[in-house]
């Protein structure tokens, strides 16, 4: 292919040779030397033209043109620094924001999980569709069947919770995972120090060996390199540390606690403290599995279905047909990301609109400038520049601008990364994996180039007008733009308004949802209340448990309450289990109880479940929850008295819609079955509903039991009064540890704080979309300001004549405003229709407002039009201040 790179000099030599030969031939025919040369040249024609054509045919020409265009564009941008700065910043904003959100989407939704062969990882969920139960947890024999089935390389149930770590400077409460010994073999991650569990270990109970996280190793043990073999006390049992997981390792989990596990303990789930394995006792909350190599998830699912069918035949008593037991495999990534998907897609959509709006803005800026450069373009065309060439030149200018904008945007993002990550709520899954990596950079490059193409094209398409004489003749006056250009500008403005309106309506709906949630009556009074947690240890051997029964625990609780009451500022105290903290507990803290209601005992293998809160009698008064019927717990409802319960209104409505619930009888048990000899619990009162699970959900049925009758290990102490968030928790810790120095005191939170934290993801979505909408509003305002200013300056002369002829200034004002307002209203109307379509897809993110909420739609449209009016008013005022004399003399 070397011919392609043939040099111009080579071509020149060939032509030279041709002319020489032709001259020689003519001389032989008898011409004089000079005549022959002239004739040869004449026969050849235009040598320069031949050379030009040769040059153009060599394919490097486009590069020459491109390079010329780039240099010229750079010169143009340098000549107008103000314009360049505004355009670059607008694009930087659009590209930077889009890339920031994309980096989160990339890490959360697009990236595979950070484990080897992540596509083979699934969660295993038991469903009982026959009785409407999803993800019921799995039982130990089921796990063992799945492990042996050959469908999976490994199956690991994951239990866990929190545990008291003692032996370090301060008793600490840490999150631990109880996993079978095959867990790390399944995940495929090796510890940085020591070794992980032996997958062949078949100890039924806990192995008394543990792995710790890098974080805990550094926090509690000062990154001691000799940590291996050291013993730590977890609750009352001694465990040996056998390994430290690498920094940055996180368990796959839906909640922050699950992801930030600090300790892993191995167990076979078949020895104490676990109950003896029972096929229908689903004591394992969840399980993950690695599918055997070579199998896809679908193939594995069909083999699991076959296994389920054969087990149902083998154990008909454990799997009655009416519950329709199923085992479902869900790709692990899908299970981890869960419902964040919708919010993230909303954010990406919103930020994409911002990018589009900033493109439109820069496009209309470029367009305004290109009509100011009409003369330059006309002169170039008159001198023979091709239309294509000019279009490429303008497109290059656009691209250069957008690339500059992209670079500025990315640089800002890079510097602000740490700060930005702080605003993201840490409940977002896989947050720790967010980074600016190659795919993100490529995305930014793509976004900038796309943006450049979009806004570079608008002015480029207008070069087509070959109406040179008109433009050249209008020399001296600011060239009036053609009607075609004016139309494009109007279309751009309308687009910008429509897009802004869509974004603002989305933000408006989210804002209203949030507002409604904030103003929802939670049914309890969170003000001046603090909840502080402690945890009584559960030793592996129940015989050594000093707080085993209610009778053993009650004196401790009474002493705790007595001491808490003496703390400064405290007016009221109460205690309860972790589930009694309104909005302050995670979903995996839920521990539903089996329920049997007297007179309606169910025959299925799965009696109904109900959530239970265990509390001391002062709880209702402290939280301001009004009693509807009957009585609350009293001092006499103690460990020696017959068991009593208080139910909430929802519970009463479901079970006794037409009868008095007070005096009715229930049986409740948190094991997986209800023993026949369990005594009946009597309902003594009905308390008003409160939104203790989620502000967005009206109350679910709930039963309250007394802590003095039903002991609990995970305790919360509630304090009401003038509390100091800094000094109250340490003061309480001192009092608790005076009773028992081994107990940790942790997790202090105000209920106001818990309430606000429960809204963190909603708040984040709302704030982000709100921010984007505000940006869009600002850009739209600036856009219409620019366009109207431009129109006014173009028409200065005309307005001068009008004024000279006696036009009223008021009419001029109205004329200019009318122009702007028409654009704004058209844009708003188009946006209105788009928003109607878009808002329906957000229904799942809204609370209390319909996606077509007329108030939001109207208010947002009015706001947008108001801003447009304001933006038009400034140039319009300038228009009426035109001095007719000056305007005319200008000519």
């Amino acid at each position: 292919m070397f011919q392609r790179n043939r040099k111009a000099s080579d071509f020149g030599a060939e032509i030279e040779a041709h002319i020489e030969m032709e001259t020689e031939r003519l001389r032989e025919q008898g011409l004089t030397d000079e005549d022959a040369r002239t004739a040869a040249r004449r026969a050849f024609g235009n040598v320069t033209k031949a050379q030009e054509r040769f040059y153009e045919s060599s394919h490097w020409l486009w590069w020459d043109h491109f390079w010329q265009d780039v240099r010229f564009a750079a010169r143009m941008l340098r000549k107008t620094p103000g314009f360049t700065a505004i355009a670059v910043l607008t694009i930087a904003l659009g590209v930077g924001a889009t890339t920031a959100i994309f980096s989160v989407v990339d890490a959360t939704l697009l990236h595979p999980l950070p484990y080897p062969q992540p596509e083979q990882l699934v969660t295993v969920e038991d469903d009982l569709p026959g009785i409407g139960v999803q993800d019921a947890g799995i039982s130990v024999p089921e796990w063992q069947d799945l492990q042996r089935s050959g469908i999976f390389e490994n199956v690991s149930p994951i239990g866990g919770g929190s545990v008291n770590l003692t032996g370090s400077s301060q008793p600490a409460r840490i999150f631990f995972a109880a996993v079978p010994p095959n867990y790390f073999a399944l995940i495929g991650v090796k510890p940085q120090l020591g070794h992980s569990f032996n997958p062949e270990d078949h100890t039924p109970g806990f192995t008394l060996e543990g792995l710790i996280s890098d974080g805990l190793w550094k926090r509690a043990f000062g990154a001691d390199p000799n940590i291996l073999g050291r013993s730590v006390r977890l609750d009352n049992d001694l465990y040996q540390i056998i390994g430290v997981m690498p920094a940055g390792y996180h368990d796959p989990g839906r909640t922050t606690e699950e992801r930030n596990t600090d300790l892993w303990l191995a167990t076979g789930f078949a020895g104490p403290p676990a109950p003896p394995p029972q096929r229908n006792a689903r004591i394992l909350p969840s399980a993950i599995a690695r599918i055997a190599p070579g199998l896809t998830i679908t193939e594995a699912q069909s083999r699991v279905d076959a296994l389920v069918a054969s087990l149902q035949k083998e154990f008909p008593d454990d799997y009655p047909p009416q519950s329709a037991w199923k085992v479902r495999l869900v790709p692990l990534k899908q299970a981890v990301v869960g419902d964040v998907r919708q919010s993230l897609i909303l954010l990406l959509g919103a930020v994409g609109l911002v990018l589009l709006i900033s493109c439109v803005n820069v496009a209309s800026l470029l367009l305004a400038r290109s009509s100011a450069r009409g003369r330059e373009m006309a002169v170039r065309q008159a001198l023979g520049a091709g239309r294509k060439r000019l279009m490429w030149q303008l497109l290059t200018e656009g691209m250069l601008l957008s690339l500059l904008g992209g670079i500025v945007g990315m640089a800002t993002l890079f510097c602000a990364k740490g700060f930005l990550l702080q605003i993201v709520p840490d409940s977002l899954p896989r947050l720790n994996e967010v980074s600016i990596n190659w795919p993100v950079l490529l995305f930014a490059l793509g976004a900038s180039l796309l943006a450049g193409a979009i806004f570079g094209l608008a002015p480029a398409l207008h070069v087509s007008r070959p109406d040179l004489t008109h433009v050249l003749k209008s020399e001296g006056r600011a060239s009036t733009s053609s009607s075609e250009q004016a139309r494009t500008r109007r279309v751009l403005m309308v687009t910008e308004f429509a897009l802004s309106l869509v974004l603002m309506i989305a933000a408006g709906l989210l804002l209203r949802s949030f507002w409604d949630l904030l103003n929802v009556r939670p049914g309890f009074n969170p003000q001046n209340v603090m909840a502080i947690r402690t945890w009584l240890p559960i030793p592996n051997d129940p015989e050594t448990d000093i707080y085993r029964t209610a009778a053993q625990e009650a004196p401790f609780i009474r002493e705790l309450l007595r001491r808490s009451r003496t703390l400064p500022g405290v007016a009221e105290v109460a205690a309860g289990d972790i589930r009694s903290i309104p909005l302050g507990h995670g979903l995996n803290d839920l521990n539903p109880y089996l329920l049997v209601v007297e007179g309606r005992e169910t025959a299925t293998d799965q009696p109904p479940w109900v959530n239970v809160s265990i509390i001391t009698p002062e709880y209702f008064h402290l939280l301001g929850m009004p009693l509807e019927r009957g009585r609350v717990f009293g001092d006499l409802d103690n460990e020696n008295a017959p068991p009593v319960a208080v139910i909430n209104e929802s519970f009463a409505k479901i079970y006794w819609p037409n009868a008095d619930p007070v005096g009715q009888h229930l049986k409740l048990n948190n094991a997986r079955s209800i023993p026949r000899n369990l005594p009946w619990t009597t309902v003594v009162g009905v308390i008003a509903d409160a939104r203790t699970e989620s502000l967005a959900e009206s109350s679910a049925p709930l039963v309250y039991l007394s802590l003095f009758q039903k002991p609990s290990k995970d305790l919360a102490i509630f304090l009401r009064g003038c509390l100091n968030p800094a000094s109250t928790p340490p003061a309480l810790r001192e009092q608790v540890q005076l009773v028992n120095p081994e107990l940790p005191v942790f997790g202090a939170q105000t209920l106001d704080g818990a309430l606000s934290a429960s809204l963190s993801q909603r708040r984040f979505s709302m704030e982000m979309v709100g921010l984007f909408a505000l940006t869009a509003l600002l850009l739209a305002g600036l856009g219409i300001y620019g366009v109207i200013s431009y129109i006014v300056s173009e028409r200065t002369h005309e307005i001068g004549i009008r004024l000279a002829l006696g036009a009223q200034r008021r009419n001029i004002l109205r004329m200019v405003l009318h122009q702007g307002l028409t654009l704004a209203i058209t844009g708003a109307a188009v946006g209105f229709v788009c928003a109607l379509i878009v808002s329906h897809s957000m229904a799942g993110l809204l609370y209390g407002v319909r996606p077509t909420d007329p108030i939001t739609f109207a208010a947002v449209a009015l706001l947008l039009i108001g801003v447009a009016l304001l933006a038009c008013y400034i140039p319009a005022r300038r228009a009426i201040q035109v001095d007719p004399l000056v305007a005319l003399r200008y000519e």
Binding site: F11, E14, A17, M21, A43, G45, K49, F54, S57
Partner: protein, 116 residues
Amino acid sequence: MSTQETRERLELLQGTLDLLILRTLIFGSQHGQGIARAIQQTSDEELLVEHGALYPALQRLEERGWISAKWGTSTNNRKARFYSLTSAGRKQLAKETTKWNRLTAAIGRVLESEEG
């Protein structure tokens, strides 16, 4: 002055120059000036080939791989760039010739019928 006949010569139809070049080269390799001469002579001086237009055409044919070129020495000991037909060029010539014959025959038929 044989190149400046009084009789007006025919301008080449668009696209026929390529065909003529290929046809000329079928007798062996030739340089640009030789090709121009050959076309003029074999057409009995009827066709006007602007020599300057010949070279971009040669360049084009070379890029398409129908002809190849290398520098050599002419009969009267001058350095010249010699073009020769490649096998792809030979095929192209056959194709173009057939096309041209069909075209002229068709046009001829139309003109005949109009006259008759």
